[in-house]
């Protein structure tokens, strides 16, 4: 700011610019420290105590007892398994379908706005509304459309949300329909950045539409794909609201994600130390996934 104005003395300018950076970043940094770094440190410390929500104070020092208990708790591993399984069930279709639909939608000339709007629309619905639509509407037992449609084909439908073997697939299906629009929009934006002349040049060289998609479009979307995959994995690992509202983790705990285990043990049972350790582990899992993926992506980019 000082250099563009150019009227202040050099001393003043350097003094101002020295504070400009930190000053501008301060509003964010303060929030970051108060609401992210602080709680993270507190979580780490609380994990060494047997604190209780129903008592004041930190509780007694228990060392690594909570760590041992969490690692030995079959429910922790089970919920982590559910979280990972949900991530697999949602990430693959959410990336592939978004890519396919974006390429298809990009080919429309007339009514393109409508296609885009139609695919993006579910994403703007709040999770509470989505949960109600599917819980009391589409996936309802005996009366829901999903139940009736399957019956037309002479198949006896399962209880979509009441059968432990089906509930996770139902939740994953709901999530795919709901959040597809976000990845779709990222891909649409990336597709528009591919220059028209690249398409034309390849067409003149005799590449068919399928070859163009495979050898030109998809490779040129690689950076976006990395971004979409990382964002999607992180979002899926953090799954909570739709499961909490639709099945509450049931039936028989078959859809309970790790985040719900944290809420249940921390806020219902009031065991803050234990819940802190579980959330620390989940944090590490998400961090590890993100770092590994970024490392792989960076290497690939260097090679290509």
């Amino acid at each position: 700011m000082a250099s563009t104005l150019g009227t202040a003395s050099p001393q003043r300018a350097s003094r101002t610019s020295r504070w400009a950076g930190p000053g501008l970043i301060a509003p964010f940094a303060i929030f970051y420290v108060i609401f992210l770094v602080g709680p993270l440190i507190y979580t780490f410390i609380a994990g060494f105590f047997n604190g209780s929500l129903l008592k004041t104070g930190m509780g007694d020092w228990v060392g690594f007892t909570n760590y041992g208990d969490v690692l030995a708790d079959s429910e922790f591993w089970r919920t982590l398994g559910h979280t990972l399984w949900f991530t697999v069930l949602t990430t693959i279709p959410l990336v592939l379908m978004a890519l396919v639909l974006a390429i298809l939608a990009d080919r429309f000339v007339r009514g393109r706005w409508f296609i885009r709007f139609a695919f993006f629309a579910p994403y703007v619905i709040p999770s509470a509304a989505i949960s109600l639509i599917f819980l009391w509407g589409i996936l309802a037992d005996q009366t829901g459309p999903a139940f009736e449609v399957v019956q037309w084909f002479g198949i006896t439908p399962p209880s979509w949300l009441g059968d432990p073997n089906w509930a996770m697939y139902s939740i994953a299906g709901v999530t795919v329909w709901w959040t597809l629009g976000f990845n779709f929009v990222l891909y649409i934006a990336a597709l528009q950045e591919i220059p028209r002349d690249v398409h034309e040049a390849s067409a003149i060289d005799g590449a068919g539409p399928w070859q163009r998609i495979r050898h030109i479009v998809v490779p040129m979307l690689a950076r976006t794909t990395v971004l979409v995959v990382v964002l999607q994995i992180v979002a899926s690992l953090k799954v909570f609201d739709q499961i909490y509202m639709i099945t509450g983790g049931g039936p028989d705990g078959s859809t309970r994600p790790t985040l719900q285990l944290i809420v249940d043990t921390g806020f219902t049972d009031g065991r803050t130390g234990y819940a802190s350790v579980v959330s620390l582990f989940l944090f590490l899992v998400i961090l590890a996934f993100s770092l590994v993926w970024f490392a792989v992506a960076r290497r690939n980019q260097k090679e290509s």
Partner: protein, 448 residues
Amino acid sequence: MTDHALSRRGLLRGGAALAAAAASATALSGCGNTIAQGFTGAPPASRRVNFWNPFTGGDGARMVAMVDAYKKAHPRNTLKATTFVWGNPYYTKLSLSAVGDRPPQVAIAHLSKVPVLAEAGLLRELREDELAKHGMTPDKFDTKPWKKAHYGGKLQAVPLDTHPFVLYSRTDLAKKAGLLDGDGKLTDLDGPDKFIDALKAMQEVTKGFGLAIASNKDPSTQFRLFYSFYRQLGGTPLVTDNGLTVQVDMAAAEEALAFIRRLATEKVVPTGSDGAGAITMLTTGKAGFLFDGVWQVISVQESKVKFDMQPVPRIFSDAPYACFADSHALVLPKASTEEAQRLDLSLQFCGSLLQSSAEWAAGGHVPAWLPTQQSAAYKKLEPQSHYTAAADGAVYDPVAWYGGAGSNLQVEVGDATIGALKGYLSPKAGAERIRSELKKLASVESPI
């Protein structure tokens, strides 16, 4: 440049002044402002009572009417009623408010949860003379909930009702099935074989099922079913010693689960219905009976079908009659000061709610307030007065920090029961699962 810096600083200064002004304004407007109380922990205005409850739907509308009756009778006092979602989240908020020294003056709690709240030291113990000042004397309360409202020899809550798990029946369909006697009462439901025979007779009329019960997404209902049968079989409370010791009567648990499984294998009960679906089955005639809580009476009444209600039949007679029940009660969370506690004002409000018990009873709950329960008006209330006897056989949830309404205990036992009903757990495996899951819960260090 200097000007820029100055104006920015000026802006910040202005902002700070504005914030300070806003803060002091909030402080000045003082106790009336709930948000400010949240920050300062100050007690609300002196003639004000904050009241928390978990009632929505029909119960919610009735509670609003009862609160309005109080407001009309005491226009000088302000009453602020707040409704939360039922179950664990409600108790979390209630506990946290008490721990954080900003509790409501009066709150609804299930009697199954009172021991936990009392053990954690979150409740203001009540003395009989304090209650008597407001017309509430022990002889005016139903003995069972009154006794249950005590913990550690002290009264912790003012019971409002008993709400047992009951049997709903469609009288028109039962008549067609030949299940009614000359007085229009159901006969011969007691005993496992007789009960299933009756359900089969009903099934011939409905062409669907004999009895509807929720199993999908509803472990609490399945827990109530299991626990009613289990206790009729003479089973011990599943956990004792405030949840430290697990004591499952394996033979009784296995037999109860085997009977529940039999309901499914004889195809008289659907194995894939949720709470709302089970009620719909009864009201649309797809099933002639329904096992559910008394609080669903309004939902069934609104469908305008002919129906009756009665206590859960005596399927097993190995022990005194038993059926699952819980009670709503009024508790006074412990406040930091006498001024914030407002004992007299709070008890006056509790007394007023009890006076409105007739309103509450219409929603299906058996009033704990004897002047209402024994009144002619209540005896005429049908079908609500038909299951008053169930309150005598009421068995409450086992006492444990992980027990009570909507608790982990209900969910774990209910999930095992669902497994037995649907057949993916044998009755023996179901009983073993109940014991192992409870042992897991019992081994966790109690947070209270």
